[in-house]
C-alpha cells in the first residue's frame, strides 16, 4: 500500500532583543545560571509584567514579511501547567487573539515548482527556564536555571501543507533565512534560537481524511528534523500496515541514538485552562504603528534574489543560494564588484569559499578570506595571471593567512606561463616523451580526438607545475599534433 505524508510545523523563534519580553532583565546567551532572572522572571509576589516594544515590533515585521493579517488588537492569555522551570505556574502566551493571523510563505521545491505553505497564525509568548537533570548534585534532584525564563518567542504555526521531510526542511531553511534577514532572530539553532515541533500523520495515498498525528518536539537542527520525520513516518506506516492504530501523543527524538520515543499521550495531556491574563491589557496595533514598522523592513531573501539576477546577471538558482542570508549576499556583491566578473564571483563564493567555511564550521562573516581578496583572486584568473587550478592553491594560502593574492602569486612564482616560446618547449617535450598518447590521438576518430587531448594536457600542466596558460597550451598542442597528422598523411 502507498501512503501520503502530512506535516505541519510549529516553530519557536527566539526574538533578538536585549531584554526579556516582560522584564528589563538581560537575555544574553551563556551567562552564569540565574544571574539574569529578575523578580518578574521569578514570579515574586507583587511583580507585574510590562511588554517589551521590540518584541512586538519584531512580531509585526514577521507578519508584514509573510503578508499576514495583522489584527488591530491582540490579547495575552495564561497557559497553566505545573513544571519547576515555570515559576509563575503559567506561561504568558496568546491563544484566541494572536498578534499575527493567516499568512503564507512560498517555498521552491526540488523540481523548481513553487508551493505556498499557509501560516495558520503566529503568537508572542515567553520562554520557560531550563531544567538540568544531572550535575554535581544528588541524582534525585533537578537543577533549575531561570535565565531563559521570559525570553521573547514567537511561535509560528503552519497548516498541514507539507508533504515530505524534504519539503519540511526546505520550509525550515526558508524560515531561518527569513527571520535572520529580518534581523528578528540570530538563527543560532544549536543555542535553541530556532526550534521546530513537527506534527506528522500518514494516510492512504490519494485519500483526504487526515490520519492521527503525533507531535515530535524541540528539534534544533535541519538534519534532526529530517531524520525525526522519516523515522516517525516509517513508524506510523508500520503500525497501520500491521493492523494497529497510531496514538495521538507527544514524542521526542534523540539525534545521537537516532531514536524516537513517547513523552506523553493525549490522556495524560495537560488541560491548560487558558484565560486572558489580567496583568496585561490588550495590545493595540494601529495603522501608524504598521507604517512605522513597514519602513524598517529590510530587503527580504526573495526580493534580494530577484535583484541579484537583475543587477548581476547570475542564474536564479545561484541567486537563491546567495540571497539566503544578508551576509552571504553582501559578501558576494563585494566579490562581484571587485572582480568585475559576477558569474565567477557567484561560483567561487558558493563553491570554493563555502566548502572551506563549511569544513571549518565558520559563518561567512568570520571568513579568513575577505570578499575584496577573493575579488582580486578572481581578477587574476580573468586576466590570465593564474589558472583556476592555481587559484585554489592561492585561496588556500590566503585562508591560512600567508599573504594577499598578488604577494602569494609573486613569492611562489605562480604567475601563469603565457610566453609562447616557453610553452612551445614544454609542449614539444611532452609530445616526444609520450609517443603512446600521441599515436592514440592520431589514430582516433577525428570526432573523438578532443577527448584524447586531455591526457597530454594533463602532462603539460604537470610539467609546468600547473602554471601553463591552459588555453594557449591547448592551442599549441592541437596545432602541433595536427602538424604531425598532416606530415604523416603527406
Amino acid at each position: 500500500m502507498r501512503w501520503d505524508t502530512v506535516i505541519g510545523l510549529e516553530i519557536h523563534v527566539q526574538l533578538l532583543t536585549v531584554t526579556k519580553i516582560f522584564s528589563g532583565a538581560s537575555t544574553l546567551f551563556g551567562a552564569k545560571p540565574n544571574s539574569q532572572a529578575c523578580a518578574v522572571d521569578l514570579a515574586m509576589p507583587g511583580t507585574l509584567p510590562v511588554l517589551n516594544s521590540k518584541a512586538v515590533d519584531h512580531a509585526i515585521m514577521l507578519g508584514l514579511a509573510i503578508n499576514a493579517e495583522i489584527p488591530t488588537i491582540s490579547v495575552f492569555e495564561r497557559k497553566n501547567y505545573f513544571y519547576p522551570d515555570l515559576p509563575k505556574g503559567y506561561q504568558t502566551t496568546q491563544l484566541e487573539r494572536p498578534v499575527i493571523g493567516k499568512g503564507k510563505i512560498p517555498i521552491v521545491l526540488e523540481d523548481g515548482t513553487i508551493k505556498e505553505i499557509r501560516i495558520h497564525h503566529a503568537h508572542l509568548e515567553e520562554d520557560a527556564g531550563k531544567s538540568l537533570h544531572s550535575g554535581d548534585f544528588d541524582s534525585d534532584l533537578s537543577g533549575i536555571d531561570l535565565n531563559r525564563a521570559g525570553i521573547p518567542l514567537i511561535e509560528i504555526v503552519t497548516e498541514p501543507d507539507l508533504s515530505s521531510a524534504t519539503e519540511a526542511v526546505i520550509f525550515a531553511k526558508k524560515l531561518h533565512s527569513l527571520v535572520t534577514s529580518l534581523g528578528i532572530c540570530d538563527g543560532r539553532m544549536a543555542e535553541g534560537s530556532l526550534r521546530f515541533d513537527v506534527n506528522v500523520s500518514v494516510r492512504p495515498n490519494g485519500t483526504n481524511e487526515l490520519g492521527t498525528r503525533t507531535e515530535t518536539k524541540n528539534l534544533n537542527s535541519f538534519k534532526f528534523m529530517e531524520e525525526a520525520i522519516l523515522l516517525e513516518v516509517d513508524r506510523q506506516i508500520d503500525i497501520l500496515e500491521n493492523g494497529g492504530s497510531v496514538i495521538q501523543e507527544t514524542r521526542l527524538y534523540n539525534g545521537e541514538t537516532k531514536t524516537g520515543y513517547s513523552m506523553r499521550s493525549k490522556e495524560e495531556a495537560n488541560d491548560y485552562r487558558y484565560f486572558p491574563c489580567p496583568d496585561l491589557l490588550p495590545v493595540a496595533i494601529n495603522k501608524s504603528y504598521l507604517k512605522k514598522i513597514r519602513k524598517k523592513l529590510p530587503e527580504l531573501p526573495d526580493e534580494r534574489s530577484t535583484r541579484l539576477v537583475a543587477e548581476y546577471g547570475i542564474g536564479t538558482s545561484e541567486a537563491n543560494l546567495l540571497a539566503a542570508t544578508k551576509e552571504i549576499s553582501e559578501y558576494f556583491e563585494t566579490v562581484a564588484i571587485t572582480s568585475e566578473n559576477s558569474n565567477q564571483a557567484a561560483n567561487w563564493t558558493l563553491g570554493e569559499l563555502m566548502s572551506r567555511l563549511n569544513t571549518a564550521n565558520l559563518p561567512i562573516i568570520e571568513s579568513p578570506v575577505s570578499a575584496e581578496e577573493l575579488g582580486v583572486l578572481i581578477r587574476r584568473i580573468c586576466d590570465n595571471t593564474i589558472s583556476g587550478k592555481i587559484a585554489k592553491q592561492v585561496l588556500d594560502a590566503i585562508w591560512k593567512g600567508e599573504g594577499t593574492t598578488d604577494v602569494i602569486i609573486k613569492e611562489r612564482g605562480f604567475k601563469q606561463l603565457t610566453d609562447t616560446k616557453a610553452l612551445n618547449k614544454i609542449v614539444t617535450s611532452v609530445i616526444s616523451d609520450n609517443p603512446k598518447m600521441v599515436s592514440d590521438f592520431i589514430n582516433a576518430d577525428p570526432q573523438r580526438r578532443k577527448k584524447k587531448l586531455g591526457g597530454l594536457m594533463g602532462q603539460i600542466m604537470k610539467r609546468s607545475k600547473g602554471q601553463a596558460d591552459p588555453k594557449r597550451a591547448n592551442d599549441l598542442l592541437s596545432h602541433k599534433l595536427h602538424e604531425i597528422i598532416n606530415g604523416e598523411s603527406n
Binding site: 532583543t17 536585549v18 531584554t19 522584564s23 528589563g24 532583565a25 538581560s26 552564569k32 545560571p33 540565574n34 544571574s35 539574569q36 532572572a37 529578575c38 523578580a39 518578574v40 521569578l42 515574586m44 510590562v50 511588554l51 517589551n52 516594544s53 521590540k54 518584541a55 512586538v56 488588537i73 490579547v75 505545573f82 513544571y83 519547576p84 484566541e96 487573539r97 531544567s131 538540568l132 537533570h133 550535575g135 554535581d136 548534585f137 544528588d138 541524582s139 534525585d140 534532584l141 533537578s142 537543577g143 533549575i144 536555571d145 531561570l146 513523552m263 506523553r264 495524560e268 495537560n270 488541560d271 486572558p276 489580567p278 496585561l280 491589557l281 490588550p282 495590545v283 493595540a284
Partner: protein, 95 residues
C-alpha cells in the same frame, strides 16, 4: 451533569491533586454542583457579545528594550531552600 468516579480521578491527575478514595463521592457531588452552575451560565445568549479581554479600558503600555534590572541573584537565592552552583535545586521532575 453527572460525573463518573473515573472522571474525578482523572481530574485529580491533571490538577496534580491526590484525591483520597474516601472523599471521591464528596468531591464528585461538589463538582457536579459547579457544573450545574456552568450549565446555567451557558444558557445566557452571548452570540453578539465580544469576549472581554480585560475589565479595564485602555491598551497595554510598551517599554523600551533596555536593561533596567540588576543582578539580584544572591538576594533571591537566599530565599530558596536548596541552591548549588547557582542552580535552584528541586525534587527531580522529568517530563
Amino acid at each position: 451533569m453527572k460525573l463518573k468516579r473515573e472522571d474525578v480521578t482523572q481530574l485529580g491527575v491533571l490538577a496534580k491533586l491526590a484525591i483520597d478514595e474516601n472523599t471521591i463521592s464528596d468531591v464528585k457531588s461538589r463538582l457536579e454542583n459547579v457544573l450545574e452552575l456552568v450549565n446555567q451560565l451557558q444558557t445566557a445568549d452571548t452570540v453578539n457579545i465580544e469576549p472581554m479581554a480585560h475589565p479595564q479600558q485602555g491598551f497595554q503600555p510598551l517599554r523600551e528594550d533596555q536593561i533596567t534590572e540588576e543582578n539580584d541573584q544572591k538576594a533571591f537565592q537566599k530565599l530558596s531552600k536548596d541552591v548549588h552552583n547557582d542552580l535552584y535545586l528541586v525534587p527531580k521532575v522529568i517530563e
